[in-house]
Symmetry: C2
DNA sequence: ATGACTATTGTCATTAACTGACAGACTAAG
DNA sequence: CTTAGTCTGTCAGTTAATGACAATAGTCAT
């Protein structure tokens, strides 16, 4: 009835406080990781910076790794969602490209600071244990993407290998595109372009001998 | 000069003892992991079974994960070696298939018990933290494989995307083949067949719409 | 506003993976 | 046998992660 309830948000003071400590932990952690490195920063140092107990940290994040992964998780689900939303007339590979572009735009629109994603990815790439966790996190959504491909094309994912193959290939191309993107300046458009370049290289890489002039 | 030195092996009693404790640790660990699970087995329990100190364990293996990975590491290097040894007339994808087959045969010939590899892979696949470590371990050899592809075909890996693409795709297909193989009985031939089936599915999966009858 | 109910947090204790330092035991070689 | 070098065990310490319980703070009805 009244104006001061920001309609739609299911929040009281309690929810707001939780959100604030969660955000504060993530921000403090990332700043410390960037300064001193991931392994060199203890959970204690993070919680001291935010002035909460160490125990509280592990109520928000399953592990130290999990905090870093929480920056990244949304990305792969967004891709699966956008893939399902792509027009059915597009063939699978085209749909995958479109979904990649759309999910990127959606991500950069939602996030407050688009630069932060780059620094997170660089941290992951330069920290072996985080890279391992990242690869696993991406792999965890494979089944989801396989399902979407199979439904789009009306095949049975249990017997037909093609959805599994395509999902795995897309995952690999995404990873390659991310590497190029990190090495370069790191604007969102560059990431989409890198993905396209890799998917363009897909058929040439698989067909016959390669000629010196690509 | 004398007969009793098993020519070529650079061993005295010291080397033999090291090899024995290392083997004992690996064997005891795998048996315990299979019985109680990976996380439920502490390093202490492993070292007690072999009757060495906990500290000694970490002189042989960088971590608990590292022990499991040591079963698997040779596999990916073997693939890279066999790839370089494949006849240059074969195009890259064909050479990759050949290298996969050859490296498998080499592995099963070297190992005393071919069944052990299956149980290791099943342990890895059913333990999230091991799966993460495995994915990273595989990824660590990507550059090596990219180099081999680039040299075989005479292209520059820094500018040409195709060797990177093919290496990533082969890695993904290997992973898929392993999954099928684990789910089935698990003979070596089945693994090679699964890999071939997935590489056969590559072009169909990437080209146009899929027809319901594969 | 007050009090009861519940979610959140802090404190304490504990386990387990690792690491550095040093001392003692063993091996290889003269 | 002795010396030099390598392994191993013991000890002490750090850090991630988890369970149990008490203290605190937010929510809601009266």
């Amino acid at each position: 009835m009244s104006l001061d309830a920001p309609a739609g948000a299911d929040v009281g003071r309690r929810e707001r406080k939780k959100q604030r400590t969660r955000d504060a932990l993530m921000e403090a952690a990332m700043e410390l990781f960037q300064q001193r490195g991931y392994h060199e920063t203890s959970v204690r140092e993070i919680t001291d910076a935010v002035d909460v107990s160490e125990r509280t940290f592990f109520r928000y994040f399953a592990s130290k790794e999990d905090l870093v992964m929480s920056f990244v998780r949304d990305g792969t689900v967004a891709f699966a969602d956008m893939l399902a939303a792509q027009p059915p007339r597009e063939d699978p590979l085209t749909a995958a490209r479109g979904a990649f572009h759309t999910s990127l735009r959606q991500m950069s629109a939602r996030s407050s600071d688009p630069r932060s994603y780059l620094s997170v990815m660089r941290l992951i790439d330069s920290t072996p244990s985080l890279l391992a966790a990242y690869l696993r996190a991406v792999h965890e959504h494979d089944d989801e993407i396989i399902e979407v491909f199979a439904r789009r094309e009306g095949v049975d994912p249990a017997t037909d290998r093609r959805p599994r193959v395509l999902a795995a290939v897309i995952g690999a191309m995404t990873f390659l595109a991310n590497e190029d993107w990190q090495a370069s300046d790191g604007d969102t458009d560059g990431r989409a372009a890198a993905f396209d370049a890799y998917t363009d290289a897909l058929l040439p890489a698989l067909s016959g001998h390669w000629t010196a002039d690509q």
